[in-house]
């Protein structure tokens, strides 16, 4: 049998993962929906705010994005959770399956599975929500519109967020949910500081943008905007996922 990927082993691992960890994931999603419903209905009940047309149009889109991201951060951070527990990690590491299959199973659940589940569940939720809010408060909420042009951008950011938290989940032995954003913040700050220092050293001026303009570099870089976006949105996550896979290979008990 192939030592990197076998559909049979992959499906066994997927079933194992679902049986062992799905309860927690569903609880997170359930808690999110419940909390949101409670808060929003309290607002409708006690608020006297006058809502405009845009509010009814975009309400579900914004809510869906918030829920998608909040849930994703939690669920992705819980990937490889067994590896963080000394009493459980040997079971996971020694479960007959390749590291690639274990990696794919976690990607499938926390990335594709979760996104698909959230989309379907939110479509159902929003329909019920709209019906109730109309019946109770005569509020004309529009259905969730995923054909919106912003949806692609949202999904691109979702991919980046997933890859960052996925890497955090396998990197940090404890509290990846907290440590990943902290590490991300520190790295971005460092990057920004180094960037500024380099700009000062090379261009002798902190106002790098002006210097770029003077040298005609802004136009030069604008020509590569598409490439830069593709790198950030697609190549970046691939690199982070690959690093996560390498980290899984390095895991010891």
């Amino acid at each position: 049998m192939n030592k990197y990927f076998s559909l049979k082993r992959f499906s066994h691992l997927l079933k194992r993962e679902i049986h062992i960890n799905i309860k927690r994931d569903l609880l997170i999603i359930g808690a999110m929906y419940s909390l949101f419903t409670l808060v929003i209905f309290l607002v409708f009940e006690f608020s006297e705010e006058v809502y405009n047309e845009k509010f009814f149009e975009e309400f579900h889109f914004v809510t869906y994005i918030i829920m998608l991201f909040v849930g994703s951060v939690f669920i992705t951070s819980f990937s490889f959770i067994e590896l963080r527990d000394k009493l459980k990690s040997h079971f996971y590491l020694l479960t007959p399956g390749s590291n690639f299959e274990k990696f794919l199973v976690n990607i499938l659940i926390s990335f594709l599975g979760y996104a698909l589940f959230m989309l379907i569940s939110y479509l159902i939720y929003s329909s019920i929500f709209n019906w109730i809010t109309w019946e109770l408060y005569q509020l004309p909420f529009k259905p969730l519109n995923i054909a919106s042009s912003d949806f692609l951008l949202v999904m691109q950011i979702y991919i980046i967020a997933h890859s960052v938290f996925f890497l955090g989940a396998i990197t940090f032995k404890k509290y990846p949910l907290v440590l990943t954003p902290i590490a991300g913040f520190i790295l971005l700050t460092l990057f920004s500081v180094i960037n500024n220092i380099m700009a000062k050293l090379i261009l002798s001026d902190m106002s790098a943008d002006n210097q770029f303009d003077n040298m005609g570099l802004s136009e030069f870089f604008l020509g590569y905007e598409g490439l830069a976006k593709a790198t950030v949105f697609y190549v970046g996550p691939l690199i982070l996922w690959f690093i996560a896979y390498l980290k899984l290979n390095e895991k010891e008990h």
Partner: protein, 284 residues
């Protein structure tokens, strides 16, 4: 066969646990691994399982490099750790989910062993005591029919009848294709099931002899006075006299007292090993 050659391992850079470990485990043998706390018994099992990676040297298990954790290797090895935590499932569900990973898994063996250990399939694993969980893991491990079974303190937490059941099960389900490695401090629990005894101290194998060789070369006696006993290698004072380990002089076989042997090896391993070399030299 498991072959470990010049293996080096350390948890920290400065303190090397194994500097040049060399040991071979042959199929068809139940090995007992003894040693003080921190001697490296558990580390050795984890290295063989692929849970830890050696810094240098070779570890070869039936042609596989454990650190690669290839699926075919993992299907043929099972590690029972000293401490562990099961997922929140019933026994039946646990077996159903995990048995499919092991191509040679035998459900009828599992059912039989659960009966032997007085466990029922519909029990929630989290409601079981530690000893019962250990019994479940032993039953599952045996049922996988893996060629390599690594057990770290398998009798810890087992009650007295279960320890006896454990010995019975090991003896019943062992065959010439399998290698069982049992690391333990509770040497009496391994009575009559070992084929080879290995003692590890400070990251080195200081004793490695088969039970046959031990019986051929050493004699375990209880005497009232040590001074009247010839060829004493080690004496342990106990109520009413001494337990002594001597060179074997006659042809009578004595029952191996693993605890006494272990104490003797700890006291002076060179002297005990010398008893085997003397005999070998005299045979030559």
């Amino acid at each position: 066969m498991i072959q470990i050659k010049d293996l080096e391992f350390s948890y920290r850079k400065k303190n090397k646990l194994f500097t040049s470990l060399n040991v071979t485990f042959n199929k068809g043998q139940v090995y007992g691994i003894l040693g003080h706390n921190g001697a490296g018994k558990t580390t050795l099992l984890k290295l063989i399982a692929g849970l830890l990676f050696p810094k240098s040297g070779d570890c070869n298990v039936y042609g596989f490099t454990p650190a690669k954790r290839e699926p075919d290797f993992l299907e043929d090895i099972f590690y029972i750790p000293e401490e562990f935590e099961f997922p929140s499932l019933t026994i039946e569900k646990y077996v159903k989910i995990h048995a499919r990973f092991y191509p040679k898994f035998d459900l009828s063996t599992m059912d039989h062993l659960l009966n032997e250990f007085e466990l029922t399939g519909n029990s929630k694993i989290n409601s079981l005591s530690f000893g019962q969980k250990k019994k479940l893991l032993i039953a599952f491990a045996i049922s996988t029919n893996c060629r390599v079974l690594l057990m770290d303190e398998p009798t810890n937490g087992l009650d007295i009848p279960s320890k006896s059941t454990f010995r019975k099960i090991i003896a019943s389900y062992f065959n010439e294709d399998r290698i069982f490695l049992i690391s333990t401090h509770q040497v009496r629990d391994l009575d009559n099931i070992l084929d080879t005894l290995i003692v590890i101290e400070k990251g080195k194998v200081i004793f490695n002899q088969t039970v046959g060789d031990i019986q051929e070369n050493l004699c375990f006696k209880k005497v009232k006075n040590v001074d009247d006993t010839p060829n004493v290698l080690f004496a342990d004072k106990e109520f009413g006299g001494y337990s002594v380990l001597t060179n074997k002089s006659g042809t009578d076989e004595t029952k191996i007292d693993i605890e006494l042997l272990y104490k003797a090896i700890n006291s002076n391993s060179a002297l005990v090993n010398n008893a085997f070399e003397q005999k070998n030299n005299s045979h030559e």
